[in-house]
Symmetry: C2
Subunit: 384 residues, 2 copies
């Protein structure tokens, strides 16, 4: 976007030892996944000119001229604190060498930030919220302890924690879920970078004709094959951006059915591992609500129920995320609505129950975890 | 074959701690790869009746009625010693609980053991030798220190050690190569159970249209992907029959070209690792002679030269093994011939030189070794 560049000096990267400090204050992990390290990198390597900001701010500015971001987006920047999610934190800005940046105002998800006529008649601009938090809203996760996972290219698991920003001791991150009706709700979250993209990757290798064939091709059992879906690194709770994926336990009798099954099981195991972290942090998880394209795979959903040992409720729409943003926008337009009224009641298209015993789930998750721990431990070595 | 069953009692398996004793006396490793543990298993689980023996003995008996095996075959049974390769060893027979077995006479590879008319005119039966030892003969490996590797479904590397049975301290095994003209020659050997079968396995997964496409599909570089070809366990120098194969270092950008390349490099790395063991045992390896179907892949042969850091000489025939047996048979038929005269001089179809520096080869071999060590360490766990 256009805008005056704050004059700034080239700074050294964040101080060593700062990671713990940043984690305690922001709820996040010092990892390139979040915005501030990217911003820092752009300033160090690309340009010191102009304004560098997140995509929502640029888009809203193009729509109506406002220079804003919302609480949930700012909460993923690593530049706000869980204690005051509505303001940029001077200490964090200084730590990351970003105190000369021009920063947008932080608004609530139901604030009307302007009007636009780019779609035809002039309409208000409102309903700003991060994609995964929007899906949490769309899944009707109003109560602390309710959990959803969206399966897009990656898989994103979020658990509502209410108005209390519960700090994870299990490697998950904590962020504002949204700010609506002057109240900030929080969530803990973890992610698997490659879910549908792991299936697409298999199709690219020729193991699968297309992603839609998963349920037809997958064997009943992976026959000992393990897949750790770290094709673009490992996120929570490992935080190893340089990790790579592995297929292990391969035998001469391993066919495409076993490999496809292992990939689906590996994605399910990763998500179940995140849900276990949510449980360890104290949330009484009663069910898991899922949405996104990959939830059309009954094999995946069953594997998830089996490994996570909870009923899995499948959202009726493959597009829950925009429904959540639309709900936030309705709240922006009609101050009389409550959040619960802004969305129709969510009725799952179907609910899948675990078929594995608790012992089998524990054993299988331990096997997958052993494979993942190897991947997390192996340092990435660049090829000459 | 027909034959009276020796009366025998069911015995407990070989005494614990016997492995070192067996290795010192036989040159072999107490592993189900060799004949005696298989024979022991058949007696324990299948039948105590009849005669159980190796395929060569059965076949020769069908051809001419003789009940024999040759020094090289007996040397892979774990029931003869390196000190006396021409006789069954009573101590080993007792140790393995096989002292009541009816055993064939041990002959030389150039002994005429009978005549047969099953192919038409009556001809002598001679030229008994193990397949890999036959290939060693066909490759003209007369001198101590000469080495060949045959690439069939598996890859089998043998190094001639002359009349001295050199004991390996690097996990290789030592066996009689052949007995010709009243002189027993020895060799050390190691094997990769899956070479061409690993390529066929990839084709079965859909990653490759057919095994013949390897050189067309393989990328120039595996881009960090490592393959450990333990699809049916790990042989020398690991001796982990329960190990399974792994594909590691996978990224979203990893395509079939990188996977095919990694599989070929993994096979080459395994063989180079065996050759390094031969070197560590003291053999001054000047070149590596190769034969078998997979040597038609220039990508494989180049990878082998690069990783093993020796010139690789490709045998002109894809079928060196029967040429070696034929040479032994010629020696059986014509007592005036010397072994060198029994085979035409071997002129390689081409010789491939290393293009990698020694440092690069060492680095790449270390990376592969790290991946293999993980596979060797991981215990096989049966799926429930």
């Amino acid at each position: 976007m256009a805008g005056p560049a704050g004059s700034r000096h080239h700074r050294r990267p964040a101080r060593a030892g700062a990671a713990g400090h940043v984690a305690r204050r922001t709820g996040l992990v010092l990892d390139p996944y979040f915005s501030a390290p990217k911003l820092r990198w752009l300033r160090d390597h690309v340009t010191r000119d102009g304004v560098v900001t997140t995509l929502d701010t640029w888009l809203v500015h193009r729509l109506c001229g406002a220079f804003v971001t919302d609480v949930s987006t700012a909460g993923r920047s690593m530049l706000t604190t869980l204690d005051d999610a509505t303001a940029w934190d001077p200490d964090l800005l200084d730590l990351l060498g970003l105190d000369d940046e021009e920063l947008p105002a932080i608004v609530a998800s139901d604030d009307v930030v302007g009007t636009t006529d780019v779609f035809g008649p002039r309409v208000p601009v409102t309903g700003l919220v991060v994609d995964q938090q929007a899906a949490l809203l769309a899944q009707g996760c109003w109560d602390a302890g309710t959990v959803k996972c969206t399966f897009g290219t990656g898989a994103f698991l979020l658990a509502q924690t209410g108005t209390d920003p519960v700090r994870s001791s299990s490697g998950l991150t904590t962020s504002p879920a949204w700010r609506l009706r002057d109240e900030t709700r929080f969530c803990v979250d973890g992610q698997v970078y490659t879910a549908a993209s792991a299936v697409d990757w298999l199709a690219g290798l020729g193991v699968l004709g297309s992603a839609g064939e998963v349920d037809r091709v997958a064997a009943d059992d992976a026959a000992g094959v393990q897949f750790v879906p770290a094709l673009t690194g490992l996120a929570a709770p490992w935080w190893q951006p340089g990790a790579t994926a592995s297929l292990t336990g391969l035998r001469l009798g391993t066919g495409r059915g076993e490999v496809v099954r292992a990939v689906v099981e590996g994605v399910a195991a990763s998500v179940a591992h995140l849900l276990e972290a949510v449980r360890r942090d104290g949330a009484p998880v009663a069910s898991l609500r899922v949405d996104g394209g990959l939830t059309r795979s009954r094999v995946l959903v069953q594997a998830l129920a089996d490994r996570a040992q909870v009923p899995v409720e499948v959202h009726p729409s493959a597009h829950a995320t925009p429904l959540g943003a639309a709900a936030a926008a309705r709240l922006g337009l009609d101050q009389a609505l409550t959040p619960a009224e802004a969305l129709p009641r969510v009725v799952p298209s179907h609910v899948v129950l675990p078929t594995w015993s608790h012992d089998r789930a524990a054993t299988e998750q331990q096997r997958w975890h052993d494979a993942a721990a190897l991947v997390a431990r192996t340092e990435r070595t660049e090829h000459p």
